[in-house]
Amino acid sequence: MRKTWIVLAVVGVVPALGFYVLEWTGATEALRYVSTTTWRPGSPSLWDLACLAAGLVTWVWLKLLVFVFLLAACPFAVADLSTVLKRGRTTRKGPCR
């Protein structure tokens, strides 16, 4: 249960934060090619295209998809928390009874 919500939260948050990393490196400048309608072979380069795709995906993740994963993580986090509260300790695998 705990692993599930942590994985969901990480999958939601890490790509979203990736946008800021791309922005810090200057890779998000490639986003300008979205509004360039005269693409030619070699312009934008493959690197620019990769940066463009990464920039767009991480931005949409930051604005939208992060909520999908964080909201999906909630039921698991709540279940985990209630288990902790009921048992007074964290859930962990024990011997089969």
Binding site: T4, L8, E23, T28, E29, L31, R32, V34, S35, T36, T37, T38, G55, L56, W59, V60, K63, L64, F67, V68, F69, L71, A72, A73, P75, F76
Partner: protein, 400 residues
């Protein structure tokens, strides 16, 4: 016993999938509350922070001649039309800003004057795409309504904000408006050429708006031209399948481009003061057939539902029917018509795909460029200029 871990994994995967699906459904339902901006701020008396930040970005570009020239040259290289549209649409925004926010008036006027001066420096042919030189214009003397209409509207709006008796471009304004009127009157369909034997709705509607602005400034009367233009457009220039005006026709009125989002919204914007009833009808048709929706996010379609055209320099890429140009221009038309629901949905989409980033208080859209940013700014600020034109027009007609 050996199947237990596998079943556990499947059960967990199913639970995660269900949870993700539930999350998507919840977000779909909650999306209006989470993602739609408060559009009332764009109709209120105070300047919204994003308009302030966008203006500061443009002032930053235009205040430094080297920075401005580099930005305009970059647009010229991508598409010469964009240099013109980027400059004129920024000018139209500044006119609206100057009329609505008195504290911003002097600064906006100063920048409008620089834009007008810069725009008039270039010969008109330099604003046209290269294919304009492949054959001559049909009408003589040659001229492009795209340039004459957009530039005369720019000067007209500057005069609408403040019209000094010795304003230096009065003569140029009269000359440009006269060229627009002569060119439209010469065409059998009353549509004039933007390119050789291509008469675009975008340009003709802006030229009509420019003539209307001229009328209220100078006490002229071109209502007969507006009436005849509207009449012919209804009879001959409406696409039969959709009821939406063609994007481009030949000088004889033969359709060459079907309805497109990159034309109709600006057409509606221009017609709003020159042929208001036609503009209202076209807006209803266009919002029905040329907009789309994903949850609360709205977008403009490049082609009407059920139609598919060719990608070109105007349309841009149109993933799943979404037109970037159409979406930006739809913002202008919907704001002008105070369609708050569509404005909110389009701004939410703009926030999602436009990648707005603010640095040092200056906002620009990273997946856009100078012309796109100018279109968005006009979309957020439009309203006061046309309201002023209507007010003066009403005053004129009551005093007659």
């Amino acid at each position: 016993m050996t199947n237990r871990p596998r079943l556990s994994f499947l059960r967990r995967a199913l639970l995660v999938a269900l949870s993700l699906a539930g999350s998507c459904a919840a977000l779909w339902v909650l999306s209006p509350h989470l993602f739609l901006p408060d559009v009332d701020v764009y109709f209120a008396a105070d300047m919204p922070p994003d308009v302030r930040a966008q203006l500061d970005h443009f002032y930053h570009v235009w205040d430094d001649p080297a920075r401005r020239d580099a930005a305009l040259e970059a647009m010229q290289k991508l598409n010469p039309e964009w240099e013109l549209i980027g400059s004129t649409f920024l000018g139209y925004s500044l006119a609206n800003v100057a009329l609505k926010y008195p504290s911003e008036r002097e600064r906006a006027l100063r920048h409008m004057d620089v834009i007008i001066e810069q725009t008039l420096k270039k010969p008109w042919r330099e604003y046209l795409l290269a294919y304009s030189r492949e054959r001559p214009f049909v009408r003589r003397p040659e001229g492009s309504l795209m340039v004459d209409g957009e530039v005369s509207l720019l000067i007209g709006l500057r005069r609408l904000v403040r019209d000094e008796p010795d304003y230096r471009y009065r003569g140029e304004h009269r000359r440009l408006v006269a060229r627009c009127v002569d060119a439209m009157e010469a065409g059998p369909a009353l549509w004039a050429e933007s390119y050789p034997d291509e008469c675009w709705l975008f340009c003709n509607a802006l030229a009509l708006a420019s003539v209307k602005v001229f009328d209220v400034l100078e006490g002229a009367d071109h209502s007969d031209l507006f009436r005849r233009w509207e009449e012919r457009a209804r009879k001959h220039l409406v696409h039969p399948g959709t009821g939406i005006l063609h994007s481009a026709v030949t000088l004889q009125g033969k359709p060459v481009q079907p309805p497109e989002g990159s034309s109709i919204w600006v057409g509606i914007y221009g017609l709003s003061i020159a042929a208001p009833e036609l503009a209202r009808e076209q807006y209803e048709r266009a919002t029905e057939l040329m907009t789309g929706r994903i949850a609360c996010f709205r977008y403009g379609r490049e082609w009407p539902v059920g139609m598919r055209g060719q990608w070109d320099i105007d349309s841009g890429l149109t993933p799943a029917g979404m037109g970037p140009a159409s979406t930006g221009f739809a913002l202008i038309a919907s704001k002008e018509r105070s369609d708050r629901e569509l404005v909110a949905g389009l701004l939410a989409m703009l926030d999602l795909v436009g990648v707005p980033r603010e640095h040092d208080g200056r906002l620009r859209y990273q997946s856009s460029n100078l012309v796109g940013d100018a279109v968005f700014l006009l979309g957020k600020t439009t309203g006061p200029a046309w309201t002023e034109v209507r007010r003066r027009d009403t005053l004129r007609s009551t005093s007659r």
